[in-house]
């Protein structure tokens, strides 16, 4: 199994555990365990299977099963994106395997990038979202749970399958989509009316960084991407779960705690987001320094949205507070000393 994917799997497992431990007393632990366990198993399978075709079939199966979970959105709406993803990935895969002109490989790269974006739910393939939908049946598992491992697998496969020329096109598309997702996600987090949607867009913005990281064809790029993915799975996702919990006071508030959460979400030092940003700037500077400038300016767009999300957390009490404290501690630790994580992923 890909070491990077293995690390992400462990993080995903930790996220499931977090959901189990810190879920409100009223929530069904059994349901959480079944849904989380199934998702985790499928994610593990995606990372573990030897052939990419098998991974695609698992994604398809996962998409069908996830769409079948009772939820607010119609079955068709939930199934479309995974089906499109698999179809496009399959066509891309086919174009890689057949003989033909070089442009076919570029089209294959398009298939792989678009398929990955569609599976995870990134711009322009954003999964339709219902603010009041339960987490399990919402698009969130794709963007924050399965997505990280899936992206790592697709990118690693692409590196093997694509030629140098097509690989460059693949990287360029990743960076392009990354910048678009960064800008859209961070601005929408700030300006959208609905707080649930703002949370969802904030994942999109982080994914923008991930795509840019994967697109930087240097050692620092994947490192940065891994750290941002860590931030998504071990930071943003748990905080989102805490925010989703029903609580007495729903009023937004700006206190020290909320600012701390905002700092974590915005990738301020000393949280893991800052280390990831440093690596991204490093990679971008090596590749093409104006890109670093664009990224640096884009990174400032995180603040207003993060402040909004931080305020939306209110003041957690009891178990929720403990959960947030744990998330903060973990993100600070990895932010200050990310080397063990990177070494575990062989990066």
């Amino acid at each position: 199994m890909l070491p990077e994917a293995a690390v992400l799997l462990v993080l995903v497992a930790a996220a499931v555990l977090f959901a189990l431990v810190f879920a409100p007393a009223t929530a069904s632990r059994r349901g959480l365990l079944v849904q989380g366990g199934a998702g985790l198993a499928a994610t593990a399978a995606i990372a573990a299977v030897p052939a990419f075709d098998l991974a695609l079939l698992i994604i398809l199966a996962l998409g069908a099963v996830h769409a079948a979970i009772p939820g607010v959105r119609p079955f068709a709406v939930r199934l479309r994106a995974p089906v499109l993803a698999v179809a496009v990935l399959a066509l891309g895969l086919m174009l890689v395997r057949v003989e033909g002109p070089d442009v076919l490989e570029r089209f294959a790269a398009v298939g792989l990038v678009a398929g990955m974006a569609a599976a995870v739910g990134l711009l322009p393939y954003i999964h339709p979202f219902a603010p009041d939908e339960a987490v399990a049946s919402s698009p969130l598992p794709w963007i924050a749970f399965v997505g990280p491992v899936l992206a790592a697998v697709v990118v690693s496969r692409a590196e093997v399958l694509l030629s140098v020329d097509a690989g460059q096109a693949f990287a360029a598309m990743l960076i392009g989509l990354g910048v678009v997702n960064m800008a859209w996600g961070s601005i929408a987090t700030w300006l959208t009316d609905d707080t649930a949607a703002a949370w969802r867009y904030s994942f999109l913005a982080d994914w923008g960084l991930v795509l840019c990281g994967f697109g930087l064809t240097l050692a620092d790029g994947p490192r940065a991407a891994l750290l941002v993915l860590f931030g998504i799975v071990a930071g943003r996702l748990p905080l989102y779960l805490v925010w989703r919990e029903p609580r007495a006071e729903q009023a937004t508030r700006e206190g020290p705690f909320n600012l701390l959460v905002a700092a974590l979400l915005a990738g301020s030092a000393p949280f893991v987001g800052f280390a990831a940003r440093v690596l991204l700037l490093r990679g971008a500077t090596q590749l093409f320094w104006p890109l670093a400038l664009v990224l640096a300016l884009g990174m400032l767009l995180w603040l207003p949205g993060s402040l909004r999300l931080g305020r939306s957390m209110g003041i957690p009490r009891g178990r929720r507070a403990l959960g947030v404290a744990l998330v903060v501690a973990v993100n600070v630790a990895v932010g200050l000393y990310p080397l063990p994580l990177l070494q575990a992923a062989h990066l």
């Binding site: 954003i126 979202f129 949607a197 490192r223 700006e254 600012l259 030092a269």
Partner: protein
């Protein structure tokens, strides 16, 4: 001295913060004694590490994961800035009552700021400085969420810019370690980013920024700590920049530009100070004024200027503690604080400013005009100071966090320290100049009794000491009863502030005309992008396919 000792100035306050937090969670507030102990331990550690050896001590503990090693060092620059940061913070933490949360956060911020100046590489400085900024924001919010605080975006932008500088150095020269960066890597564009980072870190601009705004908070507990730990960091970067550039900035225009910016900032602060409505408002502009002149002196690019700037900043650090402990009521403490702030002879502020002005003239190339402007700015502050003595107090600084006698003591100390400016230069500032600038520019002669510049000598002890005695005698027989507290009109009205405000309001009021709003409707755009329209998806696919054929 074991190299691990360089950890102490950072580790001790961190440990104290942890202990205070643990007890706090257990319901026991250890109070200011623990806070003071944590902060003073950092000061003592700095003294203990630097004074016995007086040469650079470095600790490298291997890579951290973002291209930088865990590299801490204590050298003359670290020592000087560490003291500027830790000493006032320690004093405030010892005296002012705080909740355990505020204590822990303050110590955390202090440790981060010390780590920023101890960091051996630019990237580490950026991370530690960014941490200090984050902690300071949270600290200010803990004290009073509605009171003014620094713009987070500005601070983050500064530290992000510095981290970019760090990675550019790593990419271009293979390292971002201050002492190892190849000079050729420090190009003009890179230095421009570094300068912007420094200016953003300390908000050194001509308009009213957070170092002034924070003093308009009712309570000055968090404000004092924030200014103490954050304000010196921007100057620190500009001083380290000399080390990166082998004793100079990559282009003399940077020296001139930054010096001009500094003097303009100082003049603007002084102009706002002379128009202040309360004494507190005036005192709020004192530190930006110190900072402006400090920036000018440091940026001039000569050893003399750097030394003057450092002494000026050290005085500013003392003033931070002085002003944060000063009650809003009238009295001798206020008068002495204002006298110290305006640089009444023969105080240390007076001495450092005079040397700074002399440095500009001796630097040549019309830089003397900057010195001239500096003196004009100083004169404006004098007016403000004289006027402020009789102004109403201000926002009612809570009595329990004010210590008039200590504040007065600090002010008095800065006034009495004038004759010792040569000694301070030799023990405190000269080593920094020697560290970051190459001889012969750096070390200045004159010894402990006088400051020798290129064209003149300031006989610190022999001239200023008798003047001090004379001053003490005449002030001793003079009373303060004749001073009348009254609302006093501004000498110069400030149209600029109004213009700036109007411009900002105008910008805020800008809207897209009704008939054009349908062209770009954000809501509709959001709906279209998130509606999961198959056609849009296929179009995106086609667009990507088209893109890769170009």
């Amino acid at each position: 001295m074991p190299s691990a000792a360089v950890l102490l100035p950072v580790a001790l306050p961190l440990f104290a913060a942890a202990v205070i937090a643990v007890f706090g969670f257990a319901g026991v507030s250890l109070g200011r004694v623990a806070g003071g102990a944590g902060a003073w331990s950092s000061v003592l550690a700095l003294l203990g590490v630097w004074i016995p050896v007086r040469s650079s001590i470095e600790l490298t503990l291997g890579p951290l994961g973002y291209g930088s090693s865990f590299d801490l060092r204590v050298d003359a620059v670290t020592f000087a800035f560490g003291l500027m940061i830790a000493a006032p913070a320690a004093l405030l933490l010892t005296l002012q009552p705080r909740t355990w949360q505020e204590l822990s956060l303050s110590l955390l911020g202090l440790a981060s700021a010390i780590a920023a100046v101890e960091a051996g590489s630019v990237v580490l400085t950026a991370i530690a400085g960014g941490t200090a900024a984050t902690v300071a924001i949270v600290l200010l919010e803990t004290e009073d969420p509605r009171a003014p605080r620094p713009g987070w975006a500005t601070l983050l932008a500064g530290w992000l810019a510095l981290s970019w500088v760090g990675v550019i150095l790593q990419v271009g020269g293979g390292t971002a370690v201050y002492s190892a960066v190849p000079v050729a890597t420090v190009t003009a564009p890179l230095f421009a980013v570094l300068a912007v980072a420094a200016l953003l870190a300390s908000n050194l601009f001509p308009w009213r920024t957070w170092p002034a705004d924070l003093w308009s908070r009712r309570s000055l507990r968090a404000a004092g700590i924030t200014v103490a730990i954050l304000y010196p960091l921007g100057f620190y970067l500009l001083v380290r920049a000399y080390e990166l550039g082998d004793g100079r900035y990559p282009d003399p225009l940077f020296n001139a530009g930054l010096a001009i910016l500094g003097v303009v900032a100082a003049f603007a602060a002084a102009a706002r100070a002379q128009a202040a409505g309360t004494r507190r408002e005036f005192l709020g502009e004192v530190l930006p004024f110190f900072g402006g002149l400090g920036l000018t002196s440091i940026a001039i690019g000569t050893g003399l200027g750097l030394v003057a700037g450092l002494v000026n900043l050290a005085t500013a650090a003392a003033m931070v503690a002085c002003l944060a402990l000063l009650p809003d009521r009238a009295g001798l403490a206020s008068i002495l604080s204002i006298a110290a702030a305006v640089g009444l002879p023969p105080g240390i502020a007076f001495g450092s400013r005079v040397i700074g002005v002399e440095a500009t003239f001796e630097a040549g190339d019309l830089l003397g005009l900057i010195g001239l402007a500096g003196v004009a700015a100083w004169a404006t502050l004098m007016v403000g100071g004289a006027r402020a003595i009789g102004l109403p107090g201000g926002r009612g600084h809570p009595e329990r966090e004010t210590f008039a006698s200590v504040s007065m003591g600090i002010a008095l100390l800065t006034l009495l320290a004038g004759p010792a400016i040569a000694a301070i230069q030799v023990g405190f500032a000269n080593p920094v100049a020697s560290e970051v600038m190459q001889a012969p520019a750096a070390p200045l002669g004159g010894g402990l009794t006088s400051v020798v510049t290129v064209t003149s000598v300031l006989p610190a002890v022999s001239l200023l000491a008798p003047l001090l005695v004379l001053g003490i005698l005449v002030y001793a027989v003079a009373g303060t009863s004749a001073i009348r507290t009254q609302a006093r009109p501004a000498l110069i009205k400030l149209p600029a502030g109004g213009l700036w405000h109007r411009a900002r309001e105008g910008l805020r009021a800008l809207t897209v005309p009704e008939q054009y709003r349908s062209i770009l409707n954000i809501r509709e755009l959001e709906t279209a992008a998130t509606g999961g329209q198959p056609l849009l998806w296929l179009a995106a696919l086609a667009a990507l396919a088209f893109a890769v054929t170009r």
